[in-house]
């Protein structure tokens, strides 16, 4: 059962091959067993999960079960949920119980999904390796000496290790796609505004977007269908109809115009990773797609642009953690200023403080124009580059990451080296575009990801391309040896 896809589980549950309770029990056991090795979870919610599974079994027996009834999933611990703590990977929120549910949590519950727990992540989603979590690093199931990527490292590791068939995740600069690539799974970041941000602990509000990590594009389509759509409680949620992502999966690729992102192939790409990517492109070409090189000249400025915009928004969003209304409070504050400063100094980890300070600096008097406004202008140039490219091609394809998973500890001493991991993923966030990473091969036993970027609201198309690729390949079916 643990290697079944979401699509397979929906069919299996409805055919009574197994019950939702058996399924939840089996996966909870796997999660408990893997936890000392991978640390993929922050909270394991056995009791609540089994109660939800029992309810799912009753719904299945009654014949009026919503689409995901009994399907076990996990939520990244950035989604507020009332049934257990929501920590966001931080000491600041280590004991926080949300008084309300995120829209994504509520919608997936209403669709019948059974939540087995909350997954580990970089603190406040700030990191590319899952090493900044207050609850310890997550390990990559393909090689436990290596990182799973981040910030949604727990969700990606849990899906790769067959602990859950799918998990929710969020992506501000690559936090769904980069860990999906490094763990050999499928991860989609939808268009900005497609999925509600209500109840997601905010990091950088003009970039944050929720999505899904699963093993197949089909499963991602099934789950996204239940998550996406307008929400009046998110002021940036887009009021547009959600297409049936599943219905569009089989569309033939004849005549599909693929643009190869020239700048991605130029910049520091490992030749072995490039070789995997090139053979992946052949699979698409053999199905009738045409390939041409496309240049986005401002794209190399994505990383510096991001490291102004994201920290600026982070410093503003994280100002709410004041040690007064919720979150960590220091012992015996002398006065209010001491209360603020020590509660924040103790509650936030090193990387979060670094980002808050970077953001404070670029927004401070005398620097705002030079950094923040300048970055917002360059962001406009990058978005225009993408818009121009989508006048010529249907999708853009490139690598998800420059290399395969690196060793735990290898990049922790130099933040700039760590930030450059996101060089290929950040562009889609800056421009608000949907993008998906799918497995396309291995280099010395470690997975490689292929990234497909679509035009605004073209989730259906990128899922379709990913699905057609996965019909012809079996990279997404490979499992790490210890977790088959």
């Amino acid at each position: 059962m643990h290697s079944e896809t979401v699509a397979g589980l929906i069919a299996g549950l409805r055919a009574r091959k197994y019950s939702a309770t058996e399924l939840a029990q089996g996966l909870l056991e796997r999660i408990q067993r893997a936890q000392p090795e991978l640390n993929a979870f922050i909270s394991i919610e056995a009791e609540a999960a089994l109660a939800a599974a029992a309810a799912a079994d009753r719904a299945l027996a009654s014949g009026s079960a919503p689409p995901l009834t009994g399907v076990p999933i996990a939520h990244k611990d950035i989604f507020c949920a009332t049934d257990s703590r929501t920590t966001c990977g931080s000491k600041m929120l280590a004991n926080f119980i949300s008084p309300y549910d995120a829209t994504v949590v509520a919608r997936l519950r209403a669709a019948g999904a059974v939540v087995l727990g909350k997954t580990n992540m970089d603190e406040f989603a700030m990191g590319s390796s899952n090493e900044t979590s207050y609850f310890g690093p997550v390990r990559n199931p393909w090689d436990r000496t290596r990182v799973p990527g981040g910030s949604s490292g727990g969700s990606a590791a849990a899906v790769a290790a067959r602990l859950v068939p799918a998990a929710t995740a969020t992506d501000t600069g690559g936090s769904i796609r980069q860990p999906a690539a490094l763990c050999g799974v499928t991860g989609i970041k939808p268009t900005y505004g497609r999925v509600s941000r209500y109840g997601i602990v905010a990091f950088a509000s003009s970039l944050d977007q929720a999505g899904i990590i699963a093993r197949t594009a089909e499963d991602a389509a099934i789950l996204l269908r239940s998550m996406a759509g307008f929400d009046e409680r998110d002021s940036t949620s887009v009021d547009a109809a959600v297409p049936d992502y599943v219905a569009g999966l089989e569309r033939p690729l004849n005549g599909l115009r693929i643009g190869l992102l020239k700048e991605f192939f130029d910049q520091g790409l490992d030749p072995a990773v490039e070789a995997c990517l090139r053979s992946g492109l052949e699979v698409l070409r053999n199905q009738g797609a045409t390939l041409r090189e496309v240049s986005l000249p401002n794209l190399p400025l994505s990383v510096p642009t991001y490291y102004v915009v994201a920290p600026a928004e982070c410093s503003s969003n994280l100002a709410r953690f004041d040690g007064v209304r919720f979150g960590h409070r220091c012992e015996d504050p002398r006065d209010l200023k001491d209360l603020y400063e020590r509660s924040r100094g103790e509650g936030f980890g090193a990387e979060v403080k670094r980002r808050i300070m970077t953001g404070t600096y670029v927004l401070s008097a005398g620097y705002y124009d030079a950094y923040y406004l300048k970055a917002q202008r360059v962001r406009q140039l990058i978005a225009s580059d993408f818009a121009r490219a989508f006048g010529e091609v249907d999708v853009l394809i490139g690598p998800t990451t420059p290399t395969t998973a690196f060793e735990i500890g290898a990049k922790m001493n130099d933040p700039v080296t760590m930030y450059l991991n996101d060089i290929y993923t950040i562009g889609a966030n800056l421009a608000g575009l949907p993008a998906i990473s799918i497995p396309c091969g291995f280099v010395t036993g470690l997975p490689v990801g292929l990234q497909i970027v679509g035009a605004h609201f073209a989730e259906e198309r990128i899922l379709n391309v990913a699905h057609r690729y996965q019909r012809e390949t079996d990279w997404h079916e490979r499992a790490p040896e210890a977790y088959r």
Partner: protein, 96 residues
């Protein structure tokens, strides 16, 4: 570009973050490197380019009517508060 100890002290003050002595040199070094990285933006020609204010062109921030939508839930919200008394959040004395 290199930041000084004074710069870091000032930023930490603005951000209301208490830093230990051991953290200061680490942040002098790493923030200087980050500011160096973002300095690459100086090379971009942006004359006449409007700063981007929303990732989706033409989208505007939606506003809702200023009407009562939620019931009083302060007891529920205060369950997460470090210190409350009689329904009030407690902080150190501000005015003597």
């Amino acid at each position: 570009m290199s930041l000084s100890r004074r710069d870091i002290d000032n930023i930490a003050h603005l951000a209301r973050l208490a830093l230990s002595e051991a953290e200061i040199p680490v942040y002098i070094d790493s923030l200087s490197r980050i500011i160096g990285l973002v300095g690459e933006l100086d090379n971009a020609a942006t004359a006449g380019v409007e700063p981007m204010s929303h990732p989706l062109a033409g989208q505007k921030q939606r506003l809702r009517a200023d009407s009562v939508a939620d019931s009083d839930q302060h007891e529920l919200y205060q369950r997460n508060a470090p210190q409350v008394m009689a329904g009030l959040y407690l902080v150190p004395k501000v005015i003597e």
